[in-house]
């Protein structure tokens, strides 16, 4: 898909005015974090498991070349094929080649972020092969020709009415006057439509939540069971995965599974966790006759050893999206490409370049919530800051912001001068504002354009801190200083 990331500001403005989107985001903002918290509190070892999960991926990345070689040899031993793809174009071409060789007309597909990243659906379609998304949310957005707006809940931005309208329009063979006012009715309709596709597909294309070096297996995690019908029925199974999905052993995969669903949906375990290893065995009654893995690099090997190295620990659970004040305000589409939220703001510039994605690392308050919930403890705010530093060094930061930052830095390095200027500023603003609020202020239009700025009351924090003794009174000082 063509990125609209350069238009983040316009996208965000439109998202804020989009009522169904705002209703969906309000629901998400409560539901996901609440359920994650409940799941985490049911498992006393959750924090320790996060440490171990992080350590597993840290070790993998330090030995990634070795693990990839072992993984490849294991896949071959089990009768499968591994295809290396440096770029999205390489991966698309390889997938098309396998589909053509299989004489494929229809390809069923279970949700894959890598599939989105390489825009495989458009490519197959342009080459005369019908791709069918089978995850309910992905199916809905495929009908609407939209990208996903969330890693694990791709149609989260849509209301029931919007889905019903889409089905009425796209399922034109069905009765125009049928009832579609209940989620159950929509699910039944999609289930029936997709059943036929599952049974008729020539190739099943899935992603992979993990690749296990020990056994050459790919792991698939779903709740609907669509991945299992996708790889289980057609003659050919293609796995498309990026190369950092490797984990060493079945034990290591189990540790990561213990934090994945809990972080993502707050489930203890997703309904279906599948380990596929090679094609069907000679006497098996079902399963694909061919098993292919397309290993995608697409910029990731360049991240190894870079200051964004740790981003490659990401397991795509979506927890950082669910807890991000920016994501919860504007949703996933505003980010303008496949990924979104804090992980997207770090990853997208790595994959499509800083020029296209310049706004994204700035679309953050750096509140730190993302890092605090990330099961792999990825230092997302630190990496967002690194992008900002790069922008500053590359003079991509605007003149106004650069001047303001330089002034600020000049002050911040001279504590006495800083305190003097702040004291004067606070006093002046306090005088001007009385005890009220500013509706507008010169140079602060970005803030006051959409909300008032509280006028400061009293002294600066440091002045008050030096005035009063510590102890009981400090609470009073805090209240006085930060009253708005």
């Amino acid at each position: 898909m063509h990125p609209t990331s350069p238009h983040f500001k316009e996208n965000a403005r439109a998202a804020l005015a989009d009522k169904p989107l705002q209703a969906a985001l309000a629901k998400l903002a409560v539901g996901f974090p609440q359920r994650r918290l409940e799941a985490a509190s049911r498992l006393p070892e959750f924090e320790a498991l996060r440490d171990q999960a992080r350590d597993i991926k840290t070790h993998v990345l330090e030995n990634l070349d070795r693990y990839l070689e072992i993984y490849e040899s294991k896949v071959k031993e089990s009768g499968g094929h591994v295809h290396w793809a440096e770029t999205a174009e390489d991966a698309r071409a390889k997938i098309l080649e396998i589909c053509r060789k299989a004489g494929a007309r229809t390809v069923t597909k279970s949700k894959s972020m890598i599939g989105e990243e390489i825009a495989i659906n458009d490519y197959l379609e342009n080459n005369g092969i019908e791709p069918v998304e089978t995850d309910l949310g992905e199916y809905i957005i495929q009908l609407r020709r939209e990208p996903p707006s969330h890693i694990i809940a791709p149609a989260i931005h849509l209301s029931l009415d919007q889905v019903a309208d889409t089905f009425l329009e796209k399922h034109a063979d069905l009765d125009r006057n049928r009832e579609l006012h209940e989620p159950r009715a929509l699910l039944e309709e999609a289930r029936a439509k997709l059943r036929g596709k599952f049974l008729g597909a020539d190739v099943g294309l899935t992603g992979a939540n993990m690749l296990i070096a020990e056994t050459g297996s790919n792991v698939l995690v779903t709740n609907e069971g669509n991945a299992d019908l996708t790889y289980g029925l057609p003659r050919v199974h293609i796995v498309i995965a990026s190369l950092e999905k490797i984990v060493p052993t079945l034990e290591d995969a189990s540790t990561i599974l213990r934090v994945l669903a809990r972080s993502a949906t707050g489930q203890e375990m997703s309904v279906y966790t599948t380990f596929c290893t090679g094609p069907k065995r000679p006497s098996d009654l079902d399963g694909p006759e061919e098993y292919h893995v397309v290993l995608l690099d697409n910029g990731r090997s360049r991240m190894i050893g870079s200051e964004f190295h740790e981003m490659l620990r990401c397991i795509r659970c979506g927890a950082c999206l669910n807890h991000c004040p920016i994501y919860k305000s504007v949703g996933g589409h505003a980010y303008g490409w496949v990924y979104s939220g804090p992980m997207g703001a770090v990853l997208i510039p790595n994959l499509i370049g800083m020029d296209e994605a310049a706004h994204l690392p700035n679309a953050s308050t750096l509140c730190g919530k993302c890092e605090s919930v990330c099961p792999m403890r990825i230092p997302l705010p630190t990496m967002l800051r690194r992008w900002r530093q790069r922008q500053y060094s590359a003079r991509q930061t605007g003149t106004f912001a650069r001047t303001a930052l330089r002034l600020w830095a000049g002050l911040a390095k001279r504590p006495k001068l800083y305190r003097l200027v702040m004291g004067l500023g606070v006093a002046a603003l306090g005088q001007l504002g009385g005890k009220g609020r500013f509706k507008s202020l010169p140079l602060a239009g970005g803030w006051t354009g959409v909300r008032d700025l509280a006028a400061p009351t009293g002294d600066t924090f440091l002045a008050q801190y030096h005035k009063g003794p510590r102890g009981d009174q400090s609470g009073d000082l805090m209240r006085k200083g930060f009253r708005s």
């Binding site: 006393p44 989260i156 069971g225 299992d228 052993t249 034990e251 380990f275 290893t277 290993l295 190894i304």
Partner: protein
């Protein structure tokens, strides 16, 4: 060899500041050791407690369970289930000798056929390789006696698991698969290992939880106390 393989591996080695042909291989060492990481206390239980936890966790995620003492009463447990849900007495069973040998017709008047799953199958009965108490998870291992399609195509999925096969944690199941492979001289992993934790579900429409997305809408687990012969 595919295009790009050498370039990708070279870039990774360069990023890590390492040359090709380094004789030490920590990756191989870790794989050979396949050490267990932290196992939650919840999973470390006596046999009786394991079964109780397995039932509790499975029911938490909308599975139903029944517990019987003898394996040859599986058909009557299945008959009870069919009656409870007003389902026709026709089931597709996994082509495993243990299941085939059961008195389906004589005792419970259930018409059975065996084989892989088909679109027309309404109810399937399969045999689990193991259960995992930690999360109420069933482990299905594909084989000619255990086709994967039986676990996903029917709307009603009945799984028989022996109490002795219910482990505390996932790691125990991997050990069992490794032991089985060592004994038979085969690969550790069959083509598909399916962990199943409750019936299929989705929350993709307005975050409303609905059971029965693409897989089974109901999952019934029959736990058999009798140890295998």
């Amino acid at each position: 060899m595919s295009t790009g393989r050498a370039q990708i591996l070279d870039r990774i080695r360069k990023g890590l500041g390492r040359k090709a042909g380094d004789p030490t291989n920590p990756a191989l060492d870790r794989i050979q050791a396949h050490q267990k990481n932290l196992i939650p206390k919840r999973a470390q239980l006596s046999q009786d407690q394991r079964i109780d936890l397995f039932i509790k966790e499975a029911e938490r995620v909308n599975a139903t369970t029944s517990r019987i003492s003898r394996f040859d009463t599986v058909p009557s447990a299945v008959a009870d289930y069919l009656r409870r849900h007003n389902l026709p007495a026709v089931v597709k069973i996994a082509p495993a000798d243990d299941l085939r040998a059961l008195p389906w017709q004589a005792g419970s008047a259930i018409t059975v056929s065996d084989g892989r799953g088909e679109a027309s199958d309404a109810v399937s009965v399969a045999l689990a390789f193991a259960g995992v108490a930690e999360t109420g998870t069933l482990v299905m291992a594909s084989s000619p006696e255990s086709p994967t399609t039986l676990n996903f195509l029917p709307l009603d999925h009945v799984v028989v698991v022996r109490a002795a096969d219910i482990a505390g944690d996932y790691e125990t199941v991997w050990e069992q698969l490794r032991a089985r492979a060592a004994k038979a001289g085969t690969d550790v992993m069959p083509r598909a290992v399916n962990f199943i934790t409750g019936p299929s579900r989705t929350a993709d429409i307005e975050q409303t939880l609905l059971l029965g997305a693409h897989g089974p809408q109901r999952l019934h687990i029959v736990i058999v106390d009798e140890p295998p012969a």
